[in-house]
Amino acid sequence: MTTTAPKHPAVEAPADASRRPRARRGPLAGIRVADFCWMGVGAVATRMLADFGAEVIKIEDRTRIDMPRRLPLYKGDPRSYGEELPDADPDRGGLFNNYSRNKLGVTINLRTERGRELASELIAASSVVTENFAPGVMERWGFTFDRLRELVPDVIYARMSGYGHSGPHQHYRSYGPVVQAASGLSYIAGLPGHEPSGWGLSYMDNMAAYYNSAAILMALRNRRKTGLGTEIDVAAVEVGVSLIGPMLLDVTVNGHSTHRPDFPTGNRLEHPQAAPHGVYPCAGEDEWVAVSVFDDAGWQGLEAAMGRPAWASHPEFASQASRFAHQDRLDGFLAGWTGARERHEIMHLLQAHGVPAAAVQNARDLTETDPQIAAHGTFFELDHPVIGPARFEGFPVIMSGGGADHWRSAPLLGEDNSYVLGEILGIGEEEQLELRIEGII
């Protein structure tokens, strides 16, 4: 990565007073985090800290713009992955906004000695340091756990990587799909006789992030009790393996191999023997409804909801075991019934009869029409100087003691440089100007 002249000069102090850093509310108020995270896992992990009151200072590099700033998720401008604009405005990226709301942003060129000095000063003024680079990157800049402990004796140093900070594959490159493949989570999803269908998202970016958030909270709580700082090592692959579930014990206890022609089972469920248990076509193009029947009560509800069609009273559907044994025929009949109906209409009708069922909802459904998400306020809105008003995915728990403190959308690139350098590090305006001119910030 070569150092080039910054295309986007450091912004001046924000014109809008509402964007100036303010005292925060929540269980993490007063905790300052020097946040070296980038990409998905780290950004999602520290987002939760920022939501609940921590002063998370995201350290960015103008010569190496964070990928979520570059990905073309722009308001009113549909583009695919790979259709990035070569000279994209780093403040326009929607994914970055979703990941980094409530955080502060400072730009420091860590490839310079002065930049690393500034970062050390910022670490010394913080009590938590977070990073999700490949192992070795922070070390190359001198930021070992031992060095951090010299700066902050009880520091919490949270390290989030694909493979962890020890072991023969620690330097392997990873992102969500690599972790999912290596940990077994991709293999176990799909239809028998087909290639795995796996995951259509970086599931493990989110799950590793959630485990990392919890790990940092565990360390914070214990530091308050014992005074001990700690290094944290979360390997996304290990989190992934821990999410395989009982199927793993079927291998290790029973020696029941997953290399068999009837594996995996698609949407069918063997444990417990549910039937019907699947995803059925509905009226419209590529529209689907998921239905799960576990017992006689569920089946009777389904029968009643369908108006007791003649096929349903056939003896082969008379018991749960028999329904399970005759799923091919059962699925065919049920698909015939669902195929003529609208997916939400089926969902509400079946639910009214006590049958677990849901439309396969997409992001538009969740955002525009899902009354449950709306009632809970799970998605919320904040204004952004470049993007304008935008929606965000909130912390999905309603807490009687008080929820998240959403004070600002994501920082513009370098938006909080003068706050961080001036008010936290006590660097005068003249020197800040020099740092800007020299390309350090």
Partner: protein
């Protein structure tokens, strides 16, 4: 991260934390397991017939028995089991709740009374943190709707991103209780936030964890693609759902396995690494020609490149592709099955897997604690409890 061979004296993060678990599904059970794994004292309260998960297979050696369910075994290590016949033994449950720090209730709201839980009186215990995990939450128009892992993934949007390129095939559920796992991980964070809050104020609180909402915020790109450009993503085989189709990323290998590799043409560095690697095996074909240095040319020849890559993978075994590709700095992965994961050399070197025994009998090889601290330790692995194993004595 603890190289010292002497007994591990590092503190347990949840030492002294008393947890009452009333859970009949994997969401609450996984939360209880995570707390137990780091030292909490978790009492699983079960009805006389045992938790519902004890009746879900597969069973050890195929023997259907409440003490041999592998579903139960997986989610319930490190806990004590206390059988209470409710409502007859409500007083005993209340006494536990009076002494507990956290109660996990994981069930549809309609089942709460049967579990001995009255949401009206729970908050009367000032210090208690009540973590209620339900399919759709405690409030809202769908609060009484029923669910399953499949239904939760459908309603919450993740299922819409998963499946095959062929859209005559329905979306396919990623296996093994992942909606419950997502909810457990949010519940864990919420319990920690509530503990921090209580440490400061002395007051507990009620945490309303809707599995639906947890899934709905975990779809990665799907929601931002709607929030910003207002486009919907379309499912593709074992790779990111996208607004427009992208190239396949699964490649069959010589030994009948698969590797995952998404070729990003825009970056020249991985391109050069790939061509050099292919060249080393004499399989770079025309890709070494200078025109390929230009992105436009690579993009125009993409189907050709992809077909060479397919052939390149087909003549090598999956492990070789994985390790050799990674050694060359390419983000390539072998698609491991659970059978293969348990023999992974990296995980073995990190000592990740743990052998669990019960009364001298081998119970199974389990994934170890998913978080490592230099200053704190995880609890040693303890087996899943037999039904009522505590004999009615807990927290003596």
């Amino acid at each position: 991260m603890n190289d010292d061979a002497s007994p591990d004296r590092r503190p347990l993060p949840y030492d002294g934390l008393r947890v009452v678990e009333l859970a009949g599904d994997p969401a609450g059970e996984l939360l209880g397991k995570l707390l137990a794994q780091y030292g909490a004292d978790v009492v699983k309260v079960e009805p006389p017939a045992g938790s519902a998960t004890r009746r879900i297979g597969p069973f050890a050696a195929g023997q259907e028995d409440p003490d041999r369910s592998l579903t139960f075994w997986y989610y319930n290590t490190g806990k004590a089991s206390l059988v209470l016949d409710l409502p007859a033994q409500q007083a005993e449950l209340d006494a536990l709740l009076d002494r507990g720090d956290v109660v996990i209730v994981s069930a549809p709201p309609a089942d709460f009374p049967r579990l001995g839980i009255d949401l009206g009186t729970l908050p009367n215990r000032e210090r208690l943190i009540s973590c209620c995990i339900t399919p759709f939450g405690l409030t809202g128009p769908w609060k009484d709707y029923r669910s399953s892992d499949l239904v939760a993934l459908a309603a919450g949007g993740i299922l819409n991103s998963c499946g095959y390129d062929d859209h005559s095939i329905p979306p396919i559920r990623p296996a093994e209780n992942q909606a419950f796992h997502i909810a457990a991980s949010f519940a864990h964070q919420a319990v920690l936030l509530a503990l921090l809050e209580r440490d400061a104020t002395g007051r507990g609180q009620t945490l309303d964890v809707a599995i639906h909402d947890c899934v709905a915020v975990s779809g990665e790109l799907a929601n931002p693609f709607w929030f910003y450009p207002e486009v919907l993503v379309q499912r593709q085989t074992c790779r990111h759902a996208q607004p427009a189709p992208t190239a396949p990323a699964l490649f069959a290998t010589l030994d009948g396995r698969y590797v995952y590799f998404a070729l990003v043409l825009a970056d020249i560095k991985p391109w050069n690494a790939l061509v050099e690697w292919m060249g080393a095996l004499g399989m770079a074909a025309d890709l070494t020609e200078p025109e390929y240095a230009h992105l436009v040319h690579r993009q125009a020849r993409f189907p050709h490149i992809q077909s060479i890559l397919e052939a390149f993978c087909l003549v090598q075994d999956a492990e070789t592709l994985y390790h050799e590709g990674q050694a060359r700095g390419l983000p390539i992965a072998v698609v491991n099955s659970p059978d293969e994961v348990i023999h992974d050399e990296h995980l073995s070197a990190r000592g990740f897997f743990q052998r669990v025994e019960r009364d001298g009998e081998f119970v199974g090889v389990y994934p170890g604690p998913p978080i490592q601290f230099s200053s704190y330790r995880a609890a040693p692995p303890t087996p899943p409890p037999r039904l009522g194993a505590s004999g009615g004595e807990v927290w003596g």
